[in-house]
Amino acid sequence: MIWLTWRQSHLKAASAAVVLAAFAVLLAVTGPHLASLYAGSKIGSCQGSDCGGPADDFLQQLYGSSLSGASSVDGTGTYWLLYLLGIVIILMAPAVIGIFWGAPLIAGELEAGTHYLAWNQSITRTRWLAVKLTLTGLAAMGVTETLSLMQAWWATPISRAVGRGGCCSPIAMNQFSPLVFATHGITPLGYAVFAFALGVTAGVLVRRAVPAMALTLAVFAVLQVVMPLWVRPHLFPPDHTITTLSSFAAINVPIERGTLTVIPDGFDSQPEGWVLSSGAVNTSGKPVSAVPAACMQVMQSGKASHPALLDCLDSHGIGIAVTYQPASRYWAFQWTETAIYVAFALALVGYCFWRIRRRLS
């Protein structure tokens, strides 16, 4: 059965190997230069809050322009494109596997009628399915996790800079941001095994490969949006704290309307934490949306700088209430989300076994 599974899927295995090799070459060629740029920055030697500046500079440089105004002439500005490309490939890998490996695995046999041939050899359907699922499922997990690990190695300088407080460029995504969380750690394993099981189940249900592929894509895409937006933030009860205005790297105070807007990013005391929401509050903890009249005058006097406004707000007892997940929960989130996807996958696989043993012709 192992031989037959291999014989039926060696073209798919070969194409996966080509993708892995191409990705590895791309990263191996560009990785050392990225690492040398990092070594040339001062992030490695800085202490505490001094790191924010060099980290920002480094990330801006990768984005294509440094804060000091020098434009990149050596192509360093393409690194953020490579970074995004890697993320997109890792995000798509489980979906592609579910669609092209999972959905046709059983549906292809049912469609061509070859299950009549396979199920009448001296081997039970249960064993036939077990071998097919185990080998292909392990390959799916292996491919996805290899992509993820290669990218994580390549992007180490970027994640370090973000961890040291680098902010304010599109590349500065912290470990909890949806694109980074879903492509690093062990979550890609969970997505791969789930998407594969989803494809197989869709094939068993629909019994035709192409509709099963479409169904797989639709369900997986919906879940990949629902999970980070509505489920992941609630996996653990968040922490709450009230902090000073200066703890935030970015606070926006539109002068004309006098409203306080807090951008929930770059929370200095938790650079690797996950800010779920934040808002201005007064000393009794009540939400405040209007800038006090005294501070408006500071602004309208024309002489006041941004820090002066913050000092004024501070002196009026206005702080920022932050709802967040601390950085220390990163692996708890990773394990929990992966476990959820693996549990879904096992349930789907269990259904496939039941259905193929009992119901199919």
């Binding site: 059965m1 031989w3 037959l4 014989r7 039926q8 061509a112 009628g113 070859t114 299950h115 009549y116 041939l117 199920w119 009448n120 050899q121 001296s122 081997i123 039970t124 359907r125 064993r127 009992r358 119901r359 199919l360 012709s361």
Partner: protein, 297 residues
């Protein structure tokens, strides 16, 4: 000796439609069994139940004394050539033989290779490029070389031209003669089966109408002709399968295990094809009658 196929009140329903109902059979070993009936009669359903591809809705079925597809041992005892002879289009002939060798502990590589050589199939050719007849031969090779005790074939010749039909059946009979295995094969054409079968099952509209060794069927069915007469006045024990009347004459096909004693009748032997057609007509007539009643109620 255990029966090849033994069923008791066997039925299979798809949603609300019974594809096979109340089927009770006991087919002894050592026969070449023809399963004949019109398209949609339930032949494929019965064979799929016998190979465990389907689970029964009602009743029981045992093949060689075991539950179909119960485990590797049971699977090894039954060879199945499904309808349309499915093969893996992307795999070569040699790959199919390797598949058979990997998945069947009793694989007879010698038989498989010599059959492929005799049939002039090239080992490297992809199965997707084979003709219908070649696919059937390849699938039959797989089914025979696993050395089953019973070989089940569903419409094996329906996609073949007349010459290929004859060759396929001849080849099948040679394989059977060598191994002495039991065979069950289905067809909607009695002419395909007449030459090779020594046991016949007629299945029409999901019901078994008649089943038995061909010799016995021929010995117990008589074509009677004589002066016009109401079939209801026949002696008990003579079952009318078909009746036709002219103004003065009546012709009946009757089934009876007794001798025909009435001197008014001229009794003649009946051919297998006429016998099967009479049963099919009888069922069709009954079907129309039922339909008529349903409309009126």
């Amino acid at each position: 000796m255990t029966a090849v196929i033994e069923t008791e009140g066997l039925g299979k329903r798809y949603r609300r439609l019974w594809a096979l109902s109340d089927c009770t059979l006991s087919i002894p070993a050592g026969f070449v069994v023809g399963l004949v009936g019109p398209n949609g009669a339930g032949k494929t359903t019965l064979l799929n139940l016998a190979t465990g591809m389907l689970a029964p809705t009602a009743g029981t079925i045992e093949v060689l004394g075991g539950r179909p597809a119960a485990g590797p041992a049971q699977l090894a005892r039954v060879g199945y050539l499904a309808q349309h002879a499915p093969v893996y289009a992307g795999l070569s002939v040699a790959d199919h033989l390797r598949l058979g060798a990997h998945l069947n502990p009793g694989w007879d590589a010698e038989t498989a290779r010599s059959r492929i050589e005799r049939l002039d199939l090239s080992l490297g050719q992809k199965a997707g490029t084979l003709s219908g007849g070649q696919c059937a031969q390849l699938a039959l090779t797989l089914a025979v070389a696993k050395r089953p005790e019973v070989l089940i074939l569903d419409e094996p010749v329906s996609s073949l031209d007349p010459l290929a039909r004859r060759e396929f059946l001849q080849d099948l009979m040679e394989a059977v003669a060598e191994d002495g295995l039991s065979v069950v094969l289905s067809s909607h054409l009695i002419s395909d089966l007449e030459r090779v079968c020594d046991y016949l099952i007629v299945l029409v509209a999901s019901r078994v109408l008649v089943a038995g060794p061909v010799e016995e069927l021929l010995a117990t069915h008589h074509l009677l002709s004589g002066p016009r007469r109401d079939p209801a006045t026949l002696p008990a024990g003579q079952h009318v399968i078909s009746a036709s009347h002219t103004d003065r004459q009546t012709t009946l096909l009757v089934r009876t295990s007794d001798e025909i004693l009435d001197p008014a009748w001229t009794a003649a032997e009946v051919g297998l094809e006429d016998l099967v057609l009479a049963y099919m007509n009888q069922a069709a007539g009954r079907g129309r009658h039922n339909h008529h009643l349903e409309v009126r109620t």
